[in-house]
Symmetry: none
Subunit: 190 residues, 4 copies
DNA sequence: TATGAATGAGTCTTCATTCAT
DNA sequence: AATGAATGAAGACTCATTCAT
């Protein structure tokens, strides 16, 4: 196994275990076992458990960004572009429930809070979504609410729904997903 | 201090500490100190840390139920009754951020998942909200979506917004809250 | 065993093990075993290994101070008072080789260096010895050298000799000790 | 880099790091980095960390021997030859504080103790100093004390003084050094 | 011969739980 | 019933040494 493969294997093991058991339920020794490496090996790739977690988060966000940008309907009307982002979010989360669960853990932890703090307070308006919201608001298509609120109205429900699906509380099929996306659009549109 | 007072004091201390520091940041010894009782005393009231947490959760849910039922506008139109529930949720959460933070911790943990599993899979349609949703759907006022989905559309955003407010990412004033409640109503109404 | 006895037992075990094997050769688990307590118990008495070591040092210095002050020949000529301090140092060290070895470890470690730094740079002229040196220098009995140097001339050899005795490199009997004390006096007197 | 150069470089790096951070603060990996060789290479030159340390000690002692023998005033009176040895010790130590600090570490460790045990108990009377002491005692110039004791009286203070100088507790200038050397001579001479 | 990634035993420290008083 | 000292398993992290390349 190459260095890179090992690193990936460690990240993958950490992802699986943390998504299932949470940060505190996934000791480094368990991650090492799962990845079929010795504990010390993890520390060759990552400074600490904390940095392993941050790295994992970065990786997952970047994968998600890539997924969004793929097939992004740049020429389509605003509404379509919006629905695209939401649809990709749901599709990706359902296809990779492990990634989704890890990210939930991350956002609901001191890590996630300070990450968001840096992000939001830094006025980091660089994401696709931020630009989309800006444009749409100028066009008068959206309710005149702060970005943070609009994001809550869109992703709040989606997070819940995906989680409920993963835990088998509901069965999200294509039709239901589409209905939900429409509903979130209804929430924010004028 | 009577047995009952001690029990309350322990619950209160656990609530405060866990909401601030999380389950793993609030050792039993710290809870005991804060509650001004001996550590052993906690174990006379609660089987284990886990059961203390479950008990706390039950207590908070019941307090919340009480808050909803108070001033419930039984005679008003459906829409008003709906908005009442949401409004109480937000008002209560903002007034008691400690309770809110604890519940967030709880729902985003193995505890919360198994709790919801028991609740939802048990078809426990006894809550006010459940009845409201049933009635409204029969009247054709709401989108024909499962209860779980409707709940996600209402409370998903509200959880996000309250959290963002508590973390100072936004400032929720009365006007903004009302706008958000309207938005969630737009999401579910036909 | 009372709390205090336990604490003493831990200190004693740490003293013995560290004096024999050094700081790095005496893990907390070994100290606990030796003291017949669980590892966690140590942490009820001492913040950390480091603080245990500092505490031990403080204790030993205080014991030594007590030994010096006992039978201190306040009325005798300067020379006698000097020889008393040195004699007590040697006698105490030979009687308690474990204490001596611990202190050697301590002084030859980052702990000891910063301890001395605080002490010397703080102009902490409060010890018996400091006063003695001051008085003697004013009387013109001693070579006009800084205190630090005078201490080196007195205790440098004594430390070596006691260590050599403990390691069985020499056999210090009463006559030899007296000869050595005379020699250190010759080194500093005018 | 030839094998021999590598070996030297490793020794030099170990010397610098250990003198600064102690045996336990200087991991093999750090020594390797500093020496610009791979960690495995160290193990081709030295059996273990322990043997590397022993080797280093041997090297430093030999360098010191060389320094003493250089300019040794063979024809001068005994007193001069004595002072020469002490003077060279101090001068060398002040010029090479790194060497000095390493040797201190070494002597104050299990290594040093067993080294001295071998040396002293082996009656290894081969050094210049040993011969000097022998000769001087026969001439009746020195107090009739064992070699070990005489060495303690000479080098005990000098070690202390150099250390205090290196740690900036005193400032050793030429005059002060000379006064100290005189003092140690006073301690041993008849 | 040289490399440096991999190993895993060993370190300090924490904390849920128990039990003698 | 109440106490809180004692326990020891478990966790994150380090580093001397080995061995496949």
């Amino acid at each position: 196994m190459t260095q890179t493969e090992k690193r990936s294997e460690i990240l993958r093991s950490a992802l699986v275990l943390i998504s299932q058991k949470g940060f505190h339920g996934a000791p480094m020794s368990m991650i090492a076992d799962q990845a079929q490496v010795a504990m010390g090996t993890i520390y060759r790739c990552f400074e600490s458990k904390e940095s392993l977690i941050h790295e994992l988060h970065r990786e997952l966000e970047s994968r998600f960004q890539t997924a969004i940008m793929q097939d992004f309907p740049s020429g389509e009307p605003l509404r379509e572009r919006f629905l695209h982002v939401s649809r990709v979010f749901v599709r990706y989360s359902l296809a990779s429930p492990t990634d989704f669960c890890f990210l939930e853990q991350f956002y609901n932890s001191p890590f996630g809070v300070s990450y968001r703090r840096d992000r939001i307070l830094g006025n980091n308006d660089t994401g696709v979504l931020q630009k989309l919201l800006d444009e749409a608001r100028k066009d008068g298509m959206l309710k005149p609410l702060p970005h943070t609120v609009l994001c809550a109205l869109i992703f709040g429900p989606l997070f819940c729904l995906v989680r409920d699906h993963i835990f088998n509380f509901i069965e999200l099929d294509q039709k239901l997903v589409d209905a939900c996306l429409e509903a979130t659009w209804d929430a924010i549109r004028l």
